[in-house]
Amino acid sequence: MTAVQTATDTILEVNDLKTYIFTRAATVKAVDGISFNLRKGETLGIVGESGCGKTMTALSLLRLVPKPAGRIVEGEIVLNGEDILQKSEDEMRDVRGRQISMILQDPQTSLNPVFTIGNQLREALGIAHRENKSSMLSRAVDALRKVNVAAPERRLDDYPHQMSGGMKQRVVGAIAMSCEPGVIIADEPTTALDVTIQLQYLRLLKEIQAETGLAIIFITHDFGVVARMCDRVAVMYAGRIIEQGDVRDIFSRPAHPYTQALINSVPKLEQSVDRLYSIDGQPPLLSNLPEGCRFAPRCPYVSDQCYEAYPSSYQLDEGHHADCWALDANWQGTPIEEFVPPTGTAG
């Protein structure tokens, strides 16, 4: 596309990243040429359905793609000005946790049940700061206090099973943030939580972000989480980012038929809908992708051109672009209908 200007506040830049998984039966193109960048203090949402490659994107950013089947075959991941794909495994260990970290979906399984949370926090801290015991203790207490755990001194001796799901997820967050990374990847961190607890957690993340200038990549299937949390959105479908842009642009003027369909197929809290739009069929398998545009078999606007080649990217607003042939000036098929954003009825 265009030469991406590397502004000084860009912390992470991903260029044409491809991560494939090689199995005996087929090559799974889990991530197939995605590019995006992330600025300090910004929240980027990566939205997509299961099997669209969003989790593999997250693992690629940490260089934790499952070996030996999975491999990053192409691209650049520039974190703090350095391409981490050029680093050795030893150097990566310094990058993980300190520059980029991750919060996983299920708090039940991301803590080790046989160690106290103080123990697990100190382990994470100990890797970053080689210090004496007492200062480590106060650091652990600070880390818990930062994620709003009440009475952190007493909580240090608790085992994970003694805590509720929401509390555990905060501890996971505390561990992820213990080494003050610049980027955190949150992979569906609230799907296992109840709604009122989810809100507490999302607000907490926002507060920490405002204080520390943390950049967050939010991986989710839920447009509600995106609307609540993100500054920018990248919509993934079958291994590609098919549309990305500012969150308000995406929600008010989605350009790609898939984005439109996805937003329209979610029931609205604020508005009663007579009938939801529904997309026919299912996403393609990443091991057996169709030629041309990957959404073409399900797309209501499809024409012959869509099956011939993967569409180019079209700029719509500042920083908002989408991959769809229907956005081309010479498009012969049915034009994409005007999108009507939802309106709030309750006040």
Partner: protein, 361 residues
């Protein structure tokens, strides 16, 4: 906004499905664990089925003159000794008594190397005679001390092993599966009682328990099967119960209950079919265990009574001749080791294929 009605979702065209199926079969064959399968087929299955046609000799009656013949690749060996009036007991490796020497020459078993010009054996002559008989293709793996062909006995032994293990596993596994399923499904008291019996059973040392049982019932083919089944069922019950408990938690059991299915129907139609993989994997893994148990019992004299050629009995027969006629001992041992090893490899493979949850059994 266009309202699209739910339209049928097609899973694929027939031809496509068929092509997929062929590819699947090809891939399945390519993934088979070939070495263990080949070993098992040639060592266990074919001999067990065709022992009567394949075995070159009678497995029970031997030819005493052919006793302790070595395997075919061992050739006969000779030694030379000096003839003396009366051989010194400590120098038997170099000397031979006169009377003994004369008898050997008369029978044509020995030739005189030097000093025998006069045609008689005298002290001071050097005698050369056969020390050990050589093997031949007549008895490819040699014979035991009663002159029975070891190869034939191993073939018939395979039949015993296969029969004992399949019957014992069928009996013990069936009982264990049933009890484990009952315990899981009924829960409460039934569960507590069955599982305590399992605990008690598992607390006994199995060989001791087996010996006591054999002593009580009396040795025999049926006894061995019953005893091994008694040793086996508890493990089945425990594994099956754990598995069935997990299945019971699944929504489809609730769905069946909402539909009004009876307990018997839920157990047979919903729970049991989902246990089959576990049971099969466990059975395969247990075959090796059972063969060892059966051999151990036979070795201890509490198993299949002689002259039935059970592998354990053969090992026991050969153990006192291990220094002179090692083949009597070695070949049945090898048969046991190879079979059990292959069975375990096959079981591991099956487990990975069918039921990865069983990894720690």
């Amino acid at each position: 906004m266009a309202a699209v009605t739910t339209s049928p979702e097609v899973t694929g065209v027939d031809t496509q499905q068929r092509a997929g199926r062929v590819a699947k079969v090809v891939r399945a064959i390519r993934e088979l664990p070939l070495i263990p399968l080949v070993v098992l087929i040639f060592l266990l299955v074919i001999p067990a089925i065709f022992a009567n046609q394949l075995a070159p000799h009678n497995q029970r009656i031997g030819v005493l003159d052919d006793a302790k013949l070595p395997p075919f690749w061992v050739s006969e060996s000779f030694e030379s000794r000096t003839v003396v009036q009366r051989a010194d007991k400590d120098r038997l490796d170099v000397e031979i008594g006169l009377t003994n020497a004369q008898r050997k020459v008369e029978r044509g078993e020995a030739t005189i190397l030097s000093g025998g010009e006069d045609g008689t054996v005298d002290p001071g002559d050097t005698l050369r005679f056969q020390a050990n008989k050589g093997g031949s293709m007549e008895y490819p793996l040699g014979t035991d001390k009663q002159g029975r062909d070891i190869l034939s006995r191993i073939m018939h032994g395979a039949r015993i092993s296969l029969m004992v293990s399949s019957l014992a596993i069928l009996l013990g596994g069936g009982l264990g599966t049933l009890l484990g399923m009952m315990a899981a499904y009924r829960g409460g008291k039934t569960d507590a009682i069955i599982m305590r019996i399992v605990d008690i059973k598992l607390a006994f040392p199995s060989i001791l328990l087996a010996l006591v049982l054999v002593a009580a019932i009396g040795a025999g083919f049926t006894t061995v099967i019953v005893v091994i089944a008694v040793l086996l069922w508890a493990r089945y019950a425990r594994v099956v119960r754990g598995e069935a408990l997990a299945i019971k938690q699944q929504d489809f059991i609730d769905r069946a209950r909402v539909s009004g299915a009876s307990n018997a129907r839920i157990m047979m139609r919903h729970i049991f079919p989902n246990l089959v993989n576990t049971v099969v994997v466990l059975a395969t893994l247990e075959v090796g265990h059972v063969i060892i148990l059966e051999s151990t019992l036979s070795f201890l004299g509490a198993g299949i009574p002689a002259p039935t050629p059970a592998w354990g009995v053969m090992v026991a027969d050969g153990r006192d001749l291990i220094t002179t006629a090692w083949w009597i001992f070695l070949f049945p041992c090898l048969a046991i080791v190879l079979t059990v090893l292959s069975m375990n490899l096959l079981g591991d493979w099956l487990r990975d294929k069918l039921d990865p949850k069983l990894r720690n059994v």
